[in-house]
Symmetry: C2
Subunit: 152 residues, 2 copies
C-alpha cells in the first residue's frame, strides 16, 4: 500500500532514506516544505498584483518548482494523517484510501506540471502571463487542500 | 541598516513584498526554509553514505540550490533575533551588528556557491564527487551556525 501510494506520486524509495524517517519527522518536513512554498507563492502574488520584479518571481518560482519535484510523496508515510510535526497535521485519512489513489496521483501530477510551467513563464519576465499561470498553479494547490486537508 | 544587510546578502526588496512580512512570519518562513534544506541534506547524506540514487540526489540538491538562491536574506528582518515562528528563533543578535557585515555577506556567498556546485555535481551522477561536495556544502552551513545560531 505504502509503496503503491509512493509510486503513484512518482516516488521511488532510494537507499531506504525515506523509510528511515519517523512519522513526526515526515510531518515536520512536510509542513516545512509547504510553508516554504507558501512563502514563495506570497512573493509571486505580491509581484503580479503590484510592482513586477522579474528576478524576484524567478527565484520564487524556482523554489516552488524544485519542491514540487522533490519527491514530497515520500513524506506521506502511512498513518501520518495523525501526528505532530511543528503542529498537528491537517492531513485527512482519505489521502491513503484505496478509492482515492487515482485522484491523489492526478492532483500530484497537476501540481508538478503547473509548478514547472510557472518557472518557465517566470523566466520570460512576462508579468501578465505570470499572473495567469500563478492562478492556474494556485488552483492545483486548492484542489488538494479542498479534498485532503482539514479546515483550520 | 536593514537595506545594507539585505544588499550584502544579495537581496533587493521588490514590490515591498518582504517589507510587508511580520517578524513572526519572517521567522516561520526562515525556519521552514532551513528545515526543508535539512530534509534534503539528510537525503543526500543517506545517498552518499549508502546506496547511491542519482535522481534522488539531483532532486534534493535542486531544492537546496533553489532555496539558497531564493533571497533568504529578506527573512532576516532587523529585530528578528528574538521572536517565535514555529518555535523561538535561535538567531544571535550578532548577525545584525555592523562589525559582522562583511563576514555575514561572505558566509552567505559561500553557501550559495557551494549549493550551486552541489547541484552541478549531482547532475553528473558521480557519487564520490557528490560525497566530497556534500562535505564542502555542509561546512558552509556549519560556519554560519557556529557564529550566528545559539546552541540547543
Amino acid at each position: 500500500m505504502k509503496k503503491y501510494i509512493l509510486t503513484l506520486l512518482g516516488i521511488t524509495l532510494a537507499g531506504g532514506a525515506a523509510a528511515q524517517l519517523k512519522p513526526e519527522e515526515a510531518i515536520k518536513f512536510r509542513q516545512s516544505a509547504y510553508t516554504t512554498m507558501a512563502w514563495n507563492m506570497h512573493r509571486i502574488k505580491d509581484n503580479v498584483e503590484g510592482k513586477y520584479n522579474k528576478d524576484e518571481v524567478i527565484k520564487a518560482a524556482n523554489v516552488i518548482q524544485s519542491i514540487a519535484n522533490s519527491g514530497l510523496g515520500s513524506l506521506y508515510l502511512p498513518g501520518t494523517d495523525k501526528g505532530k510535526g511543528w503542529k498537528e497535521t491537517r492531513l485527512k485519512p482519505e489521502l491513503f484510501k484505496a478509492e482515492n489513489r487515482e485522484k491523489v496521483g492526478k492532483l500530484a501530477t497537476n501540481f508538478s506540471r503547473e509548478a514547472n510551467e510557472m518557472a518557465k513563464v517566470a523566466a520570460t519576465g512576462d508579468a501578465a502571463a505570470a499572473k495567469t499561470q500563478f492562478g492556474k498553479l494556485g488552483e492545483t494547490c486548492k484542489a488538494c487542500h479542498d479534498d485532503f486537508r482539514t479546515k483550520e
